[in-house]
Symmetry: C3
Subunit: 354 residues, 3 copies
Amino acid sequence: VGGCAAVQGMACLRCWVEYETAKTIVIRNKVVGSVFRLIQFLIILYVIGYVCVVQKSYQVNDSVISTVTTKVKGTGFTNISGLGAHVWDVADYNIPPEGESSFFVLTNMIITPNQMQSSCPELPNQSTICMSDCDCTEGSSDVRGIQTGLCVNYSETVKTCEVLSWCPLEIDTDLPENPLLAGAENFTVLIKNTVTYPKFNFHKRNILPDVNSSYLKQCEFNRITDPHCPIFRLKDMVAEAEEDFQTMATRGGVLGILIDWSCDLDFPEHYCGPKYSFRRMDNKNPENNVAPGYNFRFAKYYKTTDDVETRTLIKAYGIRFDVIVFGTAGKFNIVPTIVNVGAALTFLSLVSPK
Amino acid sequence: VGGCAAVQGMACLRCWVEYETAKTIVIRNKVVGSVFRLIQFLIILYVIGYVCVVQKSYQVNDSVISTVTTKVKGTGFTNISGLGAHVWDVADYNIPPEGESSFFVLTNMIITPNQMQSSCPELPNQSTICMSDCDCTEGSSDVRGIQTGLCVNYSETVKTCEVLSWCPLEIDTDLPENPLLAGAENFTVLIKNTVTYPKFNFHKRNILPDVNSSYLKQCEFNRITDPHCPIFRLKDMVAEAEEDFQTMATRGGVLGILIDWSCDLDFPEHYCGPKYSFRRMDNKNPENNVAPGYNFRFAKYYKTTDDVETRTLIKAYGIRFDVIVFGTAGKFNIVPTIVNVGAALTFLSLVSPK
Amino acid sequence: VGGCAAVQGMACLRCWVEYETAKTIVIRNKVVGSVFRLIQFLIILYVIGYVCVVQKSYQVNDSVISTVTTKVKGTGFTNISGLGAHVWDVADYNIPPEGESSFFVLTNMIITPNQMQSSCPELPNQSTICMSDCDCTEGSSDVRGIQTGLCVNYSETVKTCEVLSWCPLEIDTDLPENPLLAGAENFTVLIKNTVTYPKFNFHKRNILPDVNSSYLKQCEFNRITDPHCPIFRLKDMVAEAEEDFQTMATRGGVLGILIDWSCDLDFPEHYCGPKYSFRRMDNKNPENNVAPGYNFRFAKYYKTTDDVETRTLIKAYGIRFDVIVFGTAGKFNIVPTIVNVGAALTFLSLVSPK
């Protein structure tokens, strides 16, 4: 038994200390040799130049987590017939008062005041015009209300089906050609943005540490002169997106404020900053488009002295500004490095002749 | 010295032009040979079939950036005792008027009109029922208000603690079994969605270029017949999620409208389109569930002639539709290709015998 | 021809059955052998220990899709001079009534009641104080309104330019030192969160299956005792973020409720749960800060008996709670496994001597 164990021990020891190596011969050949060297050189070039420098394949990535708060400043003035002179401040034109990462600025509108729950003749169109009550079906739901089944005079000349609805009905065909709140182009917005890369425990704000309060009080974003100022003039943002504010404001639209936080965290932190860009997100050209622009309806509710509910319906056209924060941060990590270099070496070993 | 330099030069030249190769012997053996060939064949199969075709490991990915706008259409009709006949349009049932990527449709509600800041007896339950003032502690905050410390008659038979609150208190126990706005199931919503893959500078809308305006005016989404129509009937969406609209509408809920923009951008652009799917996001089954359904409270504020503030409190039950856009786009890139093929070749070289 | 074919056949067969192998010699050397064995051992250690265990490089990842609903509970009480005793319930302090994944709790405010569209003297500051009408330019837009061009008495001593605006103007300098709704710290919020990993068809809620309704009715989140309760006391959340509620409530702020759903789906599902953490997202320290805290303006609109629109302007200070859901799930997949092991083997083969 002891002898056997001894033999086993010997065997194990041998497998530990001995190693194989291939018998090789050295051939001298200018052409073949040069070719091999060249290929190897190219591969090494690829690894260093492309994989490492261009693609940064030695990094792991994390995607951004962000919080945005916005604050619009400015006062608008309108003089609508019927409504009279009216000054609009942020509480009036910013609806709803506070958005998570987007804000809306009212620029144009159709106002229908003093609506009440009652019945009135429909607006005339091929489906609502009627000769007699037979043409109207009671209870049938309509775009604007519920038909009562009666056919009543809309005007001297035309009769339409009567509907139960908020009357008088909104006539949303006559939208002002020019935005009522043309002055909105000079409103400014302060955008505060905090980002986090949880994987790297990295936190930063778009208000950079090296700007002081006095500067922030009076600065205004400009790509060349003030690229780090977080206060934006609405007109400038729309212009950056190569749009005209007044035309966009008439029918409304959606403007994307893209903040790119892509960072290489192998560099010092202060190299990692926000890059702003602006894009119109909705499509403006009319072909194959439905309901162009951007608008929605909201109402202010009142009660008359005799406790009847009335409302002012507002079809609000305006620009919705979506603050879209994106980006990925990369940091050196051993695994992707090994993987990429490893793969490259494989090719290296292929061309190195056996 | 010159001779030494010459020697060095010779040496350098030699290392450039000469190369090693291993001495090899060729063995002829049907079994072993076949086995090796087979294994190599399998690995090549894996690389081509799985890595390339199935997993598309030769691509780099980018995740989607998206903007959503929604527009609900439809009119509802209710006839609540006390409130009387009432027609609901989008300004009434869509609260808040405009959401970023989600919209809410009111389907059921508990209305408490004419609330005023005053004091009234609490609703009777084991904690509020009292015999004398001693049972009520002044100033103690309650679910519905602040106790005044008095014990007053709630009815002939029962006394409860008095609270300072918006009175009369809302009695939210008697929720209508059937949704008041049952007609909401026939409302339609137009969803406009623009996506961007910044890394590939790719932009697209869910309104595809090949659909024309006339079609958009009258179409309605249907998975089979109209898969590209961006107008959805609420009932159909809920049905797609395998839910019943009326039951869901009674207590409210959250419905996810998932738009999948996963694309292979190596193919032409028109292959990349939105894939719609629908899921109920909240859990409906009652076990281990708290506050089932979806509801929230909001109020409309009025002032009486003698300048006292009153409000109509509405506990709104309804369906919140969350438009969730996701997806990753892939495009050929040399680095992942090298990495994957490289790794596969490693295995190939392992089985090729040394 | 036949002979040629036969030869070709032979050749093909030969290339199939024969294979090369390198001639090798076995050298026995304790030092060199041990070194090689050691290096190989280290590499294997790296593959198993780091790549597999630490980095989980054998997995593919998917990022989370989430839906959040929140429900705040609690009643506040204020006694503001002029406004009198006032009880605040969720419909009053939660503005807008419903957020997608964030909710706002009003804690402090500046109320300006009974504003009307009229003209009144500007608040005195270096730009608005005037001697005569010449100092005021008619029609020039101001922070608070449109100048009428008149210079009128603000008080006995000082004259300022008159503006067309909502009058009386808001005096937003005297913000209460202590939050009016100090009681808000004891409000609670129920957070319902459903997550989806589409790639793995994985769905889960933050209300875990093993908690029952009775527990949910009365529980409250506590990192140690109740880590799975979805009901949070506002004060506790702020404290978790190492902030003081009352100080934060005075000027407002943004608190991030981070829910981490990072999961290793190779483990059974019940190991995959939400991890809550809390961070203050806005920066509180005053240096290089503009408009510190968080506030926005909104208005309640009324009509007087003679049909004139009035409003109550509220500058709302409060805490916005952003529920930020993030995380990536990993699951075993053959491709990354091959890639990583392959790369490691490359290194292994490099040190194994040729």
